[in-house]
């Protein structure tokens, strides 16, 4: 099944097209299918949530394109760190679904890496149990190509956290991510929560952008403030409010809501 951006009403800007490696000329879907990686079934969110993730993906791509227009084009894919103030705020879910939306809806080559080695989230979400992943690559028990998974229907490449490791330095993770950036347009790293580790802040300094995931009804305001302080040096590009009760918010000070902006 061939997936394109047509049908979603999304117009790619010239800047965006120049910033990201073009996929229109290269049949990367075929490329992915030819990749010798197991294909896994991706979770299917509710229709409304799926649409929201697609909108997040479009917006993210627009921001990346705008930023890239101001700098020299980079040969590597964009590195996006997904983190949150607290545990359980929905980093993994957001990273996976945004990555899926970028890949399926916008036709980008996307890799989603579970960077939370102490509390892996990607593999359990995919129902994979104790799949091998980043930790195995870091301790040398497996190669990167051995731990790659391929999302079905043109989904993103997936790199689970893998088994437990003693050395969790982000330098090793950075090397894996850099390798993935060579072959992907966007690499989304599901990093630990900022309350647990400084990995997100460290990775964020060398990333192209950081997405902060906030969970409605769970994230405390002081945690959010602390997270913003921790990311003061990182290229923070936006927030995703997760687990919202779904009702439209009132106007505040004449400022439109996100949905109105998008629509």
């Amino acid at each position: 099944m061939k997936t394109t951006t047509e049908g979603f009403g999304i117009e790619m800007t010239a800047a965006g097209a120049a910033a990201l490696p073009s996929t229109r000329d290269t049949p990367f879907m075929e490329e992915r299918r030819e990749l010798d990686a197991p294909e896994v079934t991706l979770p299917t969110p509710q229709r409304m949530a799926e649409e929201r993730y697609r909108l997040v993906a479009v917006r993210l791509e627009a921001i990346l394109a705008r930023r890239a227009s101001n700098h020299a084009a980079r040969p590597l894919g964009k590195l996006i760190i997904v983190t949150s103030p607290q545990r359980g705020d929905g980093k993994t879910t957001t990273a996976l679904h945004v990555g899926t939306a970028l890949s399926r809806a916008l036709g980008r080559r996307v890799a989603v890496v579970d960077g939370d080695l102490s509390r892996p989230g990607l593999a359990p979400m995919l129902g994979l149990g104790s799949a091998r992943g980043v930790a195995d690559v870091l301790d040398g028990s497996a190669g990167l190509d051995e731990v790659l998974l391929r999302g079905e229907d043109g989904g993103p490449l997936l790199v689970p956290a893998g088994g437990p490791v003693t050395d969790r330095r982000s330098r090793g993770l950075a090397s894996i991510v850099n390798t993935l950036r060579e072959y992907n347009d966007v690499v989304l790293v599901d990093s630990p929560a900022l309350c647990d580790a400084a990995d997100a802040a460290l990775l964020g300094r060398s990333a192209d952008g950081v997405i902060l995931v906030v969970r409605a009804g769970s994230t405390r305001d002081d945690s959010l403030a602390a997270a913003l302080d921790a990311l003061v040096d990182a290229p923070l590009i936006g927030c995703v409010l997760n687990d919202h009760d779904g009702r439209p918010e009132p106007r505040h000070n004449g400022r439109p809501t996100v949905w109105e902006e998008d629509e």
């Binding site: 969110p45 929201r52 993730y53 979400m125 497996a142 906030v214 409605a216 913003l228 009132p250």
Partner: protein
């Protein structure tokens, strides 16, 4: 951390805290309704009283201070609610416990709180009392009305008696002052008798008569003097005419002739002889007349008349002095008379008032309160309880319960430090874009990759 406003805030709180809000509302409503159900029913005793004359005996005892009728009626209303009366009536129906004064004060306060008196029309009061025991309510209200009428009658009698005593004291103090003023006036009148203003007219009249008398006396004097001249004229000699004729001839001759002319010399000799003869004759005649009785009588009359004229002129001078002094005397007398009249009028007024007050005191002491106050409607009790109004109370309780539930919701929401809405995020992140708002996922959409798991595990085990 909430940043909604107005009705949106209310709705958001209700939505977010629906279970605490609903739970609190239900519990509060249940408790309130149970409380309403257990409220003791209150019966109301009612009596209508008309004050036939809300004022004291005004015709007999003029009020010392001016008090509008409306204020009098207000004070009459307060009389029904006065604590001594309430306590007196409550004691009779055993509403007040024996012993502890604090408990008695509390019971009295409760009783007073259930009592009300409101004015209907210009002179009528509706007195009501609420109690859980209808018989007690009726008895209490009956005692209260009786006590009020008795007290009010005694009050009027007391006021009338006090007024009478006060006026009597005033009269006793004023009488000596009036007597003193009258004595002062009498003394002045006595000292200046004859030269008082009210005697000026008489003095003027006497003065006129005196002047007429003087005039008449002077006329009589003139007549007497004429008579004496006539008598004395008889004494003159006929040679006086001859002397005058010779004197005229001599004068003519001197104009015609020289002084030493014989005509002149002859006439001068003739005149000297005639004059000598006349003098000689008049001397002898004068001696004879002077000794006559008539001439002496006329002289005496003239002397007597002149004496009378002198006395009359002295009298006139005295009268003029009195008339001139009357103005000054009148001035000082008028001041004294004025003081005396003021005191006398005041005394007269006080005496009149005292007589009226004494009459009023007698009337008030003999008139019972029921003659002044008409109980138009004796105390009776409503057949059904008037309080509490259970539907109204229930509505109030429900409103309070809803308010309490909302209050709990707002409290919990205010204490909640979690991010709940987009505005909460915006307030924290400032200008940082919100890339998206993802609705709650009821279904996690966990993928089923069991086959892969087994395959991956086996692959790991085989080292591929």
């Amino acid at each position: 951390m909430k940043h909604e406003a107005g009705w949106a805030r209310l709705w958001a709180v209700v939505r977010r805290r629906r279970w605490p809000v609903v739970g609190t509302t239900i519990v509060a409503a249940a408790a309130g309704l149970y409380f309403v159900k257990t409220l003791e029913p209150q019966y109301q005793a009612r009596s209508v009283v008309r004050l036939d004359d809300p004022r004291p005996a005004r015709d007999y005892v003029p009020p010392l201070t001016s008090e509008p009728d409306a204020d009098r009626l207000k004070s009459a209303r307060m009389g029904f609610l006065s604590l001594p009366l309430v306590a007196q009536s409550a004691e009779k129906v055993h509403l007040l416990p024996d012993g502890d004064s604090k408990e008695r004060a509390l019971a009295l306060s409760r009783t007073s709180a259930h009592l009300d008196a409101r004015q209907e029309g210009t002179d009528t009061f509706v007195v009501t009392y609420d109690d859980s025991d209808p018989a007690r309510a009726k008895a209490f209200l009956g005692y209260l009305v009786d006590a009020y009428t008795t007290l009010r009658s005694a009050e009027f009698a007391s006021r009338a008696a006090a007024t009478t005593a006060f006026l009597a004291k005033e009269i006793e103090e004023l009488r000596p002052r009036v007597a003193q003023a009258e004595a002062a006036v009498a003394k002045v009148r006595l000292e200046h008798y004859g030269s008082l203003p009210d005697q000026v007219e008489a003095n003027l009249r006497v003065l006129d008569d005196n002047e007429l008398n003087i005039h008449a006396l002077m006329t009589s004097v003139d007549a007497a003097q004429g008579r004496r001249r006539d008598i004395l004229a008889d004494v003159q000699s006929p040679l006086r005419h001859q002397e005058e004729a010779v004197a005229r001839d001599l004068s003519v001759a001197r104009t015609r002739y020289a002084a030493d002319a014989p005509e002149v010399k002859n006439l001068e000799t003739e005149l000297a002889r005639v004059r000598q003869d006349r003098v000689s004759e008049e001397t002898s005649t004068g001696k004879r007349v002077q000794s006559s009785t008539e001439l002496r009588s006329v002289g005496d009359q003239i002397d007597r008349l002149k004496g009378q004229i002198g006395a009359a002129q002295q009298r006139s001078t005295e009268l003029r002095g009195r008339i001139e002094a009357a103005a000054k005397n009148g001035e000082s007398l008028a001041a004294l008379v004025l003081d005396r009249d003021v005191l006398r009028d005041r005394l007269k007024s006080l005496v009149t008032k005292h007589e009226d007050a004494a009459l009023a005191a007698g009337l008030e002491s003999g008139v019972s309160g029921h003659a002044r106050i008409t109980v138009m409607e004796p105390a009776w009790v409503t057949p059904e309880p008037v309080k509490p109004s259970r539907p109204l109370f229930a509505l109030g309780v429900l409103a309070l319960a809803v308010g309490l539930g909302l209050g709990v919701g707002f409290l919990l929401d205010g204490l909640d430090r979690r991010v709940l809405a987009i505005e909460d995020v915006r307030s924290q992140v400032g200008d940082l874009p919100i890339l998206g708002v993802v609705p709650r996922l009821d279904r996690l959409g966990r993928a089923a990759n069991g086959n892969y798991t087994r395959a991956a595990t086996s692959a790991a085990g085989s080292g591929t």
